[in-house]
């Protein structure tokens, strides 16, 4: 562990200094986002014909593709982010406190990207408000898409509330070091703040975290998002009870990967190696391995049930899976990542941050490709496969591909900007880190830097 002592000055650094590299990253992200916006304007002018999509059936295409796959991917990242943060509070996984707020912010950013995809995917986005809200009282009883919008909105509000509540403590105490140009915002954020509320807010946040943890498997990535597909009986690639758990594992693997990459970026940019420690990366990588294992296990379940004496439509789906590179390669990538993480568990010296980053990037690419394949394959192999034009063909157009780069740029921009307005590491985390240090000096936690108490909570599950 570094000899530096974590201080509030550390977490204020992003708000006070802006490096050349910041502008460079900002410019690249803005360019990526801007290019996609230009592509989207072109799409609005000419219609969705600019995509590689077409009608399934006699048309010989698929009607949903990369936009929907990327939508699922972003919701997954968003979703797991807040779960991680909630777990820190509920399960007292204090070790991850320094990255909790980054995870919360990732939820906000990821949900925004997902929401943007819903709009981009539509033929008439201008009618969103009139057509959806105007008929909400009727459609909410039937349409999984409406459930989806409902739950995502609820989730967004809960996450934002959670974030705003925890910010009050920090902003009040760090006000001196915060840039004056945002004074009105800080005033609004800390409106009516008294120290007496700290305890109350602590409780509220705890309950919010509990609600979020309950909602996750029931409603979000274990619920309405997979139900969009799992409830369609005539698309055998989608239908069935396993999609809920399957989607949840995808959400958690991709979210942890997202947090690993984010943490790495911030640590490098602001010399936070004493705050976001190697130990955090090691722990996150282990969790990534655990959820990657669940991910592969559920994929295996689907292969087995689709491969053994399955009905005709299921067999066709199975045949496609085991031969299609867009399925086989992602599975291989996740499998290799899992193998590395296992090896790292057995021999800790195999761990390096660079390898953790490679693992995270590999999982993110794999989950995106697998999700797009999932969406497309569902429509390629319908139960009613009499059409000569099925399975349809699909390859995303340049505009669709640029949407992925564009939304990554958008999320990057979000973090660059937010880091200039609020501290992205909680003051609590700094206070906690210092307490732990003092504790170590007192010999209470004799295990040394690589073995904090929470380690024991992580390990058994991973090695099990």
């Amino acid at each position: 562990m570094s000899t530096k002592t974590p201080s509030s000055a550390d977490i204020l650094r992003p708000l006070q200094n802006t490096s050349k590299r910041f502008y460079l990253v900002f410019a690249v992200a803005a360019l990526a986002f801007g290019l996609f916006l230009a592509g989207w304007v072109y799409q609005l002018q000419h219609g969705l014909i600019v995509t590689g999509l077409a009608d399934w059936g006699s048309g010989g295409g698929v009607t949903w593709g990369l936009y929907i796959g990327a939508f699922i991917w972003w919701v997954g990242i968003a979703h797991g982010g807040i779960i991680l943060s909630a777990a820190v509070r509920l399960l007292k996984m204090d070790r991850y406190m320094p990255v909790a707020r980054l995870a919360e912010l990732l939820t906000i950013a990821g949900l925004s990207a997902a929401g943007f995809y819903i709009i981009v995917h539509m033929g008439r986005p201008d009618r969103m408000v009139t057509s959806i809200l105007g008929n909400y009282h009727v459609t909410v009883h039937n349409s999984p898409l409406v459930w989806d919008v409902t739950v995502i909105t609820l989730y967004f509000v809960m996450t934002a509330t959670y974030l705003l509540l925890t910010l009050r403590y920090d902003v009040t105490r760090l006000r001196e070091g915060l840039p004056n140009r945002f004074e009105p915002l800080y005033k609004l954020l800390t409106l009516g703040y008294t120290e007496k509320e700290d305890e109350v807010v602590e409780r509220m946040v705890w309950w919010l975290a509990l609600a979020i943890i309950i909602m996750a498997p029931l409603l979000l990535h274990g619920g309405v998002i997979p139900w969009l597909f799992a409830l369609i009986p005539t698309m055998p690639g989608w239908f069935g009870a396993i999609q809920g758990p399957q989607f949840l594992t995808i959400a958690l693997t991709s979210a942890i990967s997202g947090v690993i990459i984010l943490s790495f970026g911030f640590r490098k940019a602001y010399d936070w190696d004493h705050i976001i420690t190697d130990d955090i990366f090691r722990g996150l990588t282990l969790w990534l391995g655990f959820f990657a294992m669940l991910f592969l296990w559920l994929q295996l379940q689907q292969l087995v049930s689709g491969g053994f004496a399955a009905p005709i439509d299921q067999s066709v789906t199975f045949d496609s899976k085991v031969t299609h590179p867009a399925y086989v390669i992602p599975m291989g990538m996740v499998g290799l990542t899992l193998a590395y993480i296992f090896a790292q568990t057995v021999r800790p010296s195999l761990f390096t941050k660079a390898r953790a980053i490679i693992a995270a990037v590999a999982v993110l690419i794999a989950t995106l490709v697998e999700k797009v394949y999932f969406v497309v394959a569902g429509l390629m192999y319908p139960t009613f496969g009499l059409y000569e034009a099925t399975p349809g063909a699909y390859f995303p157009s340049l505009i669709e591909i640029s949407s992925v780069v564009g939304t990554i740029g958008m999320v990057t921009l979000f973090f660059l900007l937010v880091a200039k307005v609020i501290p992205v590491v909680e003051l609590h985390a700094i206070e906690h880190l210092n307490e732990t240090r003092e504790g170590e000096h007192d010999g209470e936690r004799g295990g040394g830097d690589s073995e904090p108490l929470t380690e024991t909570a992580t390990e058994p599950e991973v090695t099990a």
Partner: protein
């Protein structure tokens, strides 16, 4: 035209499910009273609450029958009914009280309540509650098709007569000005393991009574017309999310990916808006979903009286294979046609009295999915291993496109694949 009256009809349709009726009938037949009378009374109780029947009319209609059936010599029931007949400002609650009070009488009257009044009241009050709550744009019409009384447009398509000439495909695309490859009407030629020679499947929209496309629609753009059960898309409401296309098992939806081949200005306004003045007919504008409509503007008389009850595809079919009409009407073209085909193919019941009356094979496409489709096919159903083959006439021969993606790929911005 009274809107109240049509509201009442809608309410009745919404309630009038066969299941419920069967359940009620079973209940009534358990007793020894006249089940038909009970059912009639229950139905009229619904009409009463829906406002189609006054209380006085209701009382008058059943007064004598009730007396006869149950031999009620007591004055209480007649008195109650008489006071209702007077129409002395009884509201529904008071009516319920009045009828409930009868239960305090002897066994006979309790039986009356149980077997008839109660059934009627339940149905009646149920209707009332439904009417109260139905403040949405329109009550779900999903039960309309099951209602023997309501109109449910559909088709009988005789696949044995089809010769695969694709005249219906051309007629449909001309009538609706659909873009190239958006084959609302589509004809398969297929080979199957256990069927010899050329087989055809003529695929329109099935106008399902339980349409999955309608269920998943996040906007109500995809809806069933209450008056005739046609499943349509409101082009002014659709947001183009394409969930209907995903949920439809038949693949009948065709999205308007780019600018339509025929501009708006060239469309006949009478063929765009239906009788309700909703934009549901002709090809969809850019960014919304289209599919076979079964020609609502024809049915609403907007294309001239002579076209009511016809569709472009049926008109074009020289083989007399497509028959459009009200599936609930015994005398409609499709039902009469079916009857005729059946009578022309009698079974040998002289020697085998337990055989069905005829040898005609009919099916509804993918009926096992529970969509309750309203197109009945005469002929053989394609099996799970059937494969589409080149037909006697190619789509390209008649100026149409089969695989639409070939057209759409021209508009794809850098990328996309031709199969």
């Amino acid at each position: 035209m009274s809107t109240e009256k049509s509201d009442a009809t809608e309410t009745l349709e919404a309630l009038h499910t066969n299941e419920w009726e069967a359940e009620m009938r079973a209940l009534l037949e358990d007793g020894d009273a006249d089940a038909d009378l009970g059912m009639a009374m229950a139905k009229d109780a619904q009409r009463l609450v829906a406002g189609e029947l006054t209380e006085a009319e209701f009382a008058k209609r059943y007064h004598d029958a009730v007396l006869e059936e149950f031999d009620v010599d007591d004055q209480e029931l007649p008195a109650a009914l008489a006071s209702i007949e007077d129409g002395d400002g009884l509201d529904d609650a008071a009516l319920a009280d009045r009828l409930a009070a009868l239960e305090d009488g002897d066994m006979d009257r309790r039986e009356v309540m149980k077997k008839m009044g109660a059934a009627g009241m339940f149905l009646g009050l149920g209707t009332w509650a439904t009417t109260e709550n139905a403040d949405g744009p329109s009550p779900p019409a999903s039960t309309a098709g099951e209602d023997e009384d309501g109109t449910q447009y559909g088709m009988v398509i005789d696949l044995e007569k089809c010769d695969g000439c694709l005249a219906c495909v051309v007629a449909c695309s001309q009538e609706n000005d659909t873009s190239m490859g958006a084959n609302w009407m589509y004809v398969f030629t297929y080979e199957d393991d256990h069927q010899d020679g050329e087989n055809f499947l003529v695929r329109t929209c099935q106008h399902c009574t339980d349409a999955p496309c309608e269920k998943v629609c996040p906007t109500t753009a995809r809806h069933t017309r209450t008056e005739d059960g046609l499943v349509l898309t409101d082009y002014d409401v659709c947001i183009g999310c394409r969930y209907c296309q995903v949920a439809c098992p038949y693949g009948v939806n065709y999205f308007q990916w780019g600018e339509p081949d025929t501009p708006q200005a060239e469309l006949d306004p009478d063929h765009v808006y239906d009788g309700r003045d909703r934009r549901v007919d002709s090809r969809p504008p850019k960014g919304v979903m289209g599919k076979c409509t079964m020609c609502p503007s024809r049915q609403d008389g907007k294309m001239g009286e002579d076209k009511v009850g016809s569709t472009a595809c049926a008109d074009a079919c020289t083989m007399d294979a497509i028959h459009f009409g009200d599936m609930n009407d015994e005398g409609s073209d499709p039902n009469e046609y079916l009857e005729r085909v059946r009578s022309e193919n009698p079974n040998d019941r002289e020697h085998f009295p337990n055989r069905p009356a005829d040898t005609v094979n009919t099916f509804r496409l993918l009926e096992e999915l529970g969509t309750d489709p309203n197109v009945v096919f005469v002929g053989n159903e394609p099996g799970p291993n059937a494969t589409q083959v080149d037909g006697p006439v190619a789509y390209e021969d008649i100026g149409e496109v089969d695989r639409r993606k070939e057209v759409l790929d021209d508009g794809t911005f850098a990328g996309g694949v031709s199969p």
